[in-house]
Structure formats: structure tokens, C-alpha cells
């Protein structure tokens, strides 16, 4: 049976207009523009700083007497392993710029617009990420330019001292072999992937917590405490877990530049820096995929908190 | 036709609008078959709810003063004789307000009438 036609109908004049929600593409484009405007001033300052940096390096390279003062004895070759930490810091701080003017836990413009809150937050985070990649690319270009102008090369070609049998080190004393090393292609992606992972965590913190800075401090202090605690326990599995965790994180950011190297005392006296193992594409890719997934989970958990507020 | 509303007036807004239309008829500002301002125009001009104006026009139509032609607007009823309809009505309303005012001030009808007569005889007041 059909329902009776005389069912109370709303006054026609007030019948709902077909709801016209903005398409996701429109929202995304609009957020790219909005974030771009939000970070415009800082972005231009950054660009100017980078240009000034390159010009300074170029000028210094042209006048060797000053150049050696400024650049010193460092080989001016650019090693992307050394940029990982810097990119991580940029990525972690970038959400502050992306969310400028918005208070995710207040009545912010973003929430008053006709888009589901979680989806809208994701669109903004994605838009911000595009700008982050842009900023990192400018930074990389500047470093590359500076290295080339100073007479250096992109990437390094060296021999690295590697421990022959790190499993038994240091009980039987170090035995070091020299292994030739040149910068592999994937390492040029590291600043971008590392910066992105940190951006995801920064965004999750900013969007998902009412007091992001407080929580950042809590996370940091907890990490320090746990690391120290695990170190003290001397319980093998826990210690291993902590070490592997830190190592995995470092592998993602720098492909192991910080954790794979160790200082060893040579039998004949003095110290050298040797590698327990050289970075590999496989370990970097595994760590990166893991941390990107972890970052995405954190972001999804954070935006879900705005679904029902 | 100009319509004014008095903020201090205790009559409901739609009644004030009705009386203003009648007053315009009595003064000859509008005549039979003349168009009245649209609801939208009048409401926005007076900063009132359009429903208030619609209500005033509807009541005036019920009293036979105007004719609402859907889609065209509101017109003074054809053949309306202001002296027959509007004038006595308006006079009654003015009197009603005067009486209420007198009563509020503790005056009785005779006192009010006497004062009215006295004022009306005073050439300075009536001029």
C-alpha cells in the first residue's frame, strides 16, 4: 500500500532547496589558496632568505680568501643525509603556518562552512602538505645551488669505515674495513618524506588536541623518560625495542646517518667514527612506509575527533 | 503616499499601517483605484516584517478599503468613498485614543469634551 497522498506536506515555499554541497575538488582548491595566502608573508621571507644564502655562498666562492673563512674546510659537496633533521623540523612546525587564523577547538571559519568537519580538516592538511613540499623543494634547490656555486657537487663519493663484524663488537675489538660509498638516488627523497612524516604528526597534534604545544612537550618528555628508563632496565627485549624504534625513526629521516655511526677507540689510540652498517634502500623504504602509515593513522584519529563534537 | 509609524504608539504595527492608509484616503493623497506601495517596498521602507504589511493589507481588504490583486499589487478599492468608510473609522479611532488617554489621566468624558470644545474655539489652536 502506498502512503496516503494527504500526508502532511511542508508548505511548498519552505521546501528544502536541493542541497548543494561544494565538490571535494573545489574545497581542496580553495584550501590550497587559503593556506597559500596564510603563509604568503612567511613564504616570501623564506624565499628571500634562501636567495640571500645562495648569493652569499656564490660571492664567498668568488673571493677565495673570504670563502675559506666562511665555508671553512668542509667539503662543499651536498650530502642529503645531513638535511633530514632540518626537513623534519620544518615539517613539524609547518602546521602552525597552515592553521594560522584557525582554532580547531574553537568556532573557526573552517567549521562554519558546509563541509563535514573531518573531511574539511583533511582537505586543509592535504593542501598544507602541497605547500610544505614546495617549501622543502625551494630549500633543497637553495642548498643544491649553494653547493654547486661553491664548487662542490651534489652527492658525496667517499670511502666509509665499516665495522667488519658489528655483532661481536666491542668484545673482540673493532676491525674496520673501508667500503666505497656514493650517495644513492633515493636519499634525495629523504628530506621530502621525512618532512612529510613530521608534518603529519604535527598536524595530528595541532588538530587532534586542545593544547598541541602542551601535548608536544608531554610526548617529548615521555619519550626522553622512556628511553632513559629502557636503557636502565637492561631488559634485553625492551632495550632492543627502544633501540629499534629510535633507529627506525632515524632510518626514515636520514636513512640511519645518526644511529648507524658509532665512535670507536682504536687500539693504537684515538677515536674514529665507523659505521655499523651502511644505509640501504630496503631499510629506508620499510621505515618510511611504516612511519607514513603511522602518521596517516594519527591524522585520521585526530580529525575523527571533530566528527562529533 | 507616505506612511509613518510612531515608535511610542501602543497600537500594533499593522493597525498603525491600516490607519495610515485610511488617513491618506481621507487627506486625498490616494484615491480609488490608486496603487498602494508593494508589501516589499513598504516593509523595507518601514523596517518591519513583510508579514505585518500583508496583514494590514489583508485586513483593509476585508474592510473593503483595498483590493489585493495577486501578482499585480494592492490597489485602493474602486468606487471607494473615503467619506463613507475611512473618515468615520478614522474619527472613531482618534476618539478612542483620546478617551483612553483621558481615562489614563483620570479624566471623565465631560472634562475631555469641554476641553476639546474650548480648544476648538480658540483661533490660535485651530489655525
Amino acid at each position: 500500500m502506498n502512503p496516503p497522498a494527504a500526508a502532511p506536506a511542508k508548505a511548498s515555499a519552505f521546501a528544502q532547496p536541493p542541497t548543494r554541497l561544494p565538490a571535494l575538488g573545489v574545497v581542496f582548491t580553495e584550501q590550497i589558496r587559503t593556506v597559500g595566502l596564510a603563509v604568503r608573508r612567511e613564504g616570501l621571507l623564506f624565499l628571500a632568505a634562501m636567495v640571500a644564502f645562495v648569493i652569499a655562498v656564490a660571492a664567498a666562492a668568488m673571493v677565495p680568501s673570504i670563502g675559506s673563512e666562511l665555508i671553512g674546510e668542509l667539503p662543499p659537496n651536498l650530502n642529503p643525509e645531513e638535511l633530514g633533521m632540518l626537513a623534519a623540523l620544518v615539517g613539524l612546525a609547518f602546521p602552525l603556518a597552515v592553521w594560522k587564523g584557525e582554532r580547531p577547538w574553537g568556532d573557526t571559519t573552517l567549521w562554519t562552512l558546509p563541509v563535514p568537519h573531518a573531511r574539511h580538516a583533511l582537505a586543509k592538511i592535504a593542501a598544507g602538505w602541497l605547500w610544505l613540499i614546495g617549501v622543502l623543494a625551494v630549500g633543497m634547490l637553495a642548498f643544491c645551488g649553494a653547493a654547486l656555486l661553491a664548487g662542490g657537487e651534489l652527492g658525496i663519493e667517499v670511502t666509509r669505515p665499516v665495522l667488519a663484524n658489528p655483532e661481536v663488537f666491542p668484545s673482540t675489538g673493532p676491525e674496520v674495513v673501508s667500503v666505497p660509498w656514493s650517495t644513492p638516488g633515493y636519499q634525495w627523497l629523504m628530506p621530502f618524506t621525512g618532512g612529510s612524516v613530521m608534518y603529519l604528526f604535527g598536524s595530528a597534534l595541532w588538530v587532534g588536541t586542545r593544547h598541541p604545544l602542551r601535548w608536544a612537550l608531554v610526548v617529548w618528555l615521555t619519550g626522553l623518560f622512556l628511553a632513559g628508563f629502557f636503557d636502565l632496565t637492561q631488559v634485553e627485549p625492551i632495550e632492543r625495542f627502544a633501540e629499534d624504534g629510535i633507529q627506525g625513526f632515524d632510518t626514515m629521516l636520514t636513512s640511519g646517518y645518526e644511529t648507524l655511526r658509532t665512535g670507536i677507540r682504536r687500539p693504537e689510540g684515538g677515536w674514529i667514527i665507523a659505521w655499523t652498517a651502511l644505509p640501504t634502500l630496503g631499510s629506508w623504504a620499510t621505515a618510511t612506509v611504516f612511519w607514513i602509515l603511522a602518521g596517516l593513522v594519527a591524522v585520521l584519529a585526530a580529525v575523527r575527533r571533530h566528527r562529533r563534537r | 503616499m507616505r506612511i509613518r509609524l510612531q515608535p511610542s504608539d501602543s497600537r500594533p504595527l499593522y493597525v498603525q499601517i491600516m490607519d495610515e492608509v485610511r488617513s491618506a484616503l481621507v487627506r486625498g493623497t490616494v484615491g480609488p483605484d490608486d496603487p498602494l506601495p508593494s508589501v516589499r517596498e513598504l516593509a523595507s521602507g518601514l523596517r518591519v516584517n513583510p508579514r505585518t504589511v500583508s496583514q494590514a493589507y489583508a485586513e483593509l481588504e476585508r474592510d473593503g478599503v483595498v483590493r489585493v490583486q495577486p501578482g499585480r499589487g494592492t490597489f485602493v478599492a474602486p468606487g471607494l468613498r473615503p467619506d463613507h468608510e475611512a473618515r468615520p473609522h478614522l474619527a472613531r479611532e482618534v476618539a478612542r485614543r483620546a478617551l483612553a488617554d483621558a481615562s489614563r489621566n483620570g479624566l471623565v468624558l465631560d472634562e475631555l469634551m469641554a476641553a476639546l470644545q474650548e480648544l476648538a474655539d480658540d483661533p490660535e489652536v485651530t489655525s
Partner: protein, 314 residues
């Protein structure tokens, strides 16, 4: 001024609708404080409903709940046939919202860019109408939002709320910060909007006199509860001020068989604001020995003041 100690019963039911907004038993806590304590708000379709109440009565909280900016702890909400909890985005697409405060969100944007931003989000944006609003409100599109005064920001907010021609306007203190001329413009534009489109307006204000001519329905909110809600027609008929003469020895503690909202005593006269059929209230007052000399209507502003001050006294 004294207030009778009996509890007051004012109508809170506006019938079965259709209502553009309906709230039933809505409770919202902020920590231990109940900002809303179960009001049954009913905003009939096509009405201009004003929500009056002191600061902290819960007006803004209610509007934010309706927009889906907050979630309630208890109760049900219906905005244009949808639950803001479930379909907040669809509701926001059909609502023109002026928020509490004059924060435009993005201080680094120009007004023109901010309008473009909103235009992208609202499929129903009426560009010609937006241009007209910009002209009427005398807003400079090239200026940065940061540089705008409080009143100018309010004007921009009104443009943003109206330009997409929403069937429902939720206005939180819409005239706040506007000078006389701009307020007058805003009221004229609002009136036009009501003529042009089937529109329901729900606004909160504690300056009712500024919008009184537009309003046809009133709700009085205090401490998260609705003290009463009624149409202006019902108010004109039943919410009246009675001027009475009383003997000097008149006993003011005696009970009165009427919903008396406020009583102000002079030596030989008492002014009452009461709810009810005029004859019944008059008769009840006469039974106490008071002689009704005059009965006058009460403005919404006066009515709200009487209701709210009574609340504070009792």
C-alpha cells in the same frame, strides 16, 4: 518592585509546526555548568524569532548547536528537517550564520578574497545580490580584514550570511557593533530578504528594541531554560500592562489569581504586567481590591525585561 512568589506559567508551545527549527530537551554542559538545560525551542517556518536573555543564558550555545559546531549531551534537534549532529554540512549550506563576536577568521585576507572564499563553498551564492550588499553596507573589498573596525566586520559577516540566499538565518547579536545608519540599512535589507525568499530567522539579542519591528515570535531564555515563547499576536492579546488604583491600606501580600510577571507598587497605584485573557486578569486584579484604570500593550523589550528581572528577584 516586587515579584509574586508563585511560579509563573507562560506558554512554551507554538503548536505542531511546521517548524524550521525544533529543539526538545536539549542539554549541553561545559564542564559542570549546564549552558542549556532542556529548552523546547520551536521556530515556526517563515517566522522572525528573537531569542532574548541575559549574557550567559545559553543563546549562543544554542545557535552553535543548531549549526553543528557543538554536539549536545541530551535531547533532539531538528534544523530544516535534519539533525545537525548527522547532517551538519547540509544544514550549514542552507543557513546564513552570523557568529558571536566579530572574528572574520582570516585577518590576512582582503574582504574581496573572503567573499570569494565563501562563494566557492556555497552553491547558492548570488553574485549580483552580494555586489548589492557590498554597496549597501559600504564595504571596501580591497581592504584587509585585519584593518576593519568592529562594526565593519559585522557588516562583512552580514553580507556572508545573506549572499547565498539561505532559507534560514541564525544571527547571534546581528546588530552588535553597528552604528545607527548601518543598523537601519541592515534592518531594511533583512526585511527585503524576507519579502524575496521564504526565510525563517532566528536571532539572539539583548537589544530587542533594535529589531522589534521585524520580530513576530519571541522566546525568553534564562539560565539555559526557556521561560516562555509566544507569537507577537498572542503577546498583543495576552501580555498586557494593567494600571490600577488601590486603596492606601491595600494588602500587597494577598494572592492574585493570574500569571503576574511584574508588579510595581506606588502608594495608591499598582502597575502590573501579566499574562492571560484581558477580562480574566482584570477580574482577578479587581478581586484584590485594585481598580483597573487602563490596560496597555507591552513591547517585546519591556516584556523581556519584566520576565528576566522577575527571574532574578524570585
Amino acid at each position: 518592585m516586587t515579584a509574586p512568589a508563585t511560579t509563573l506559567r507562560l506558554p512554551t508551545d507554538l503548536g505542531t509546526g511546521p517548524h524550521a527549527v525544533a529543539a526538545r530537551g536539549v542539554v549541553k554542559h561545559f564542564g559542570p555548568i549546564a549552558a542549556l538545560d532542556g529548552p523546547d525551542l520551536q521556530v515556526p517556518e517563515g517566522s522572525v524569532y528573537v531569542l532574548v536573555g541575559p549574557n550567559g543564558a545559553g543563546k549562543s550555545t544554542l545557535l552553535r548547536l543548531l549549526m553543528g559546531l557543538l554536539s549536545r549531551d541530551e535531547g533532539t534537534l531538528d534544523v530544516l528537517g535534519a539533525d545537525p549532529h548527522e547532517e551538519g554540512s547540509a544544514i550549514r549550506a542552507a543557513v546564513g550564520y552570523v557568529p558571536e563576536g566579530q572574528d572574520l577568521g582570516y585577518p590576512w585576507m582582503t574582504v574581496g578574497r573572503l567573499l570569494e572564499h565563501h562563494r566557492a563553498y556555497f552553491g547558492t551564492w548570488d553574485a549580483a545580490y552580494a555586489r548589492r550588499l557590498v554597496h549597501e553596507f559600504d564595504v571596501d573589498l580591497a581592504r584587509s580584514c585585519r584593518a576593519l573596525s568592529k562594526g565593519e566586520r559585522r557588516r562583512v559577516q552580514l553580507i556572508l550570511a545573506l549572499a547565498h540566499r539561505p532559507p534560514l538565518l541564525l544571527l547571534d547579536e546581528p546588530t552588535d557593533g553597528l552604528d545607527h545608519v548601518v543598523r537601519d540599512t541592515a534592518l531594511a535589507l533583512l526585511s527585503e530578504h524576507l519579502s524575496d525568499r521564504p526565510t525563517t530567522v532566528l536571532m539572539s539579542t539583548h537589544r530587542v528594541y533594535e529589531v522589534e519591528r521585524l520580530v513576530d515570535t519571541v522566546g525568553v531564555l534564562s539560565e539555559g531554560r526557556l521561560l516562555g515563547q509566544f507569537t507577537r499576536a498572542a503577546m498583543n492579546e495576552r501580555l498586557l500592562r494593567y494600571w490600577t488604583d488601590v486603596p492606601t491600606e491595600w494588602d500587597e501580600s494577598q494572592p492574585v489569581d493570574a500569571e503576574v510577571i511584574r508588579r510595581t507598587r506606588g502608594r495608591r497605584e499598582v502597575e502590573w504586567v501579566a499574562w492571560g485573557p484581558r477580562e480574566e486578569v482584570s477580574a482577578a486584579l479587581e478581586r484584590t481590591g485594585a481598580e483597573v484604570r487602563d490596560v496597555t500593550p507591552v513591547s517585546i523589550d519591556d516584556a523581556a525585561t519584566a520576565l528576566l528581572s522577575r527571574r532574578e528577584v524570585s
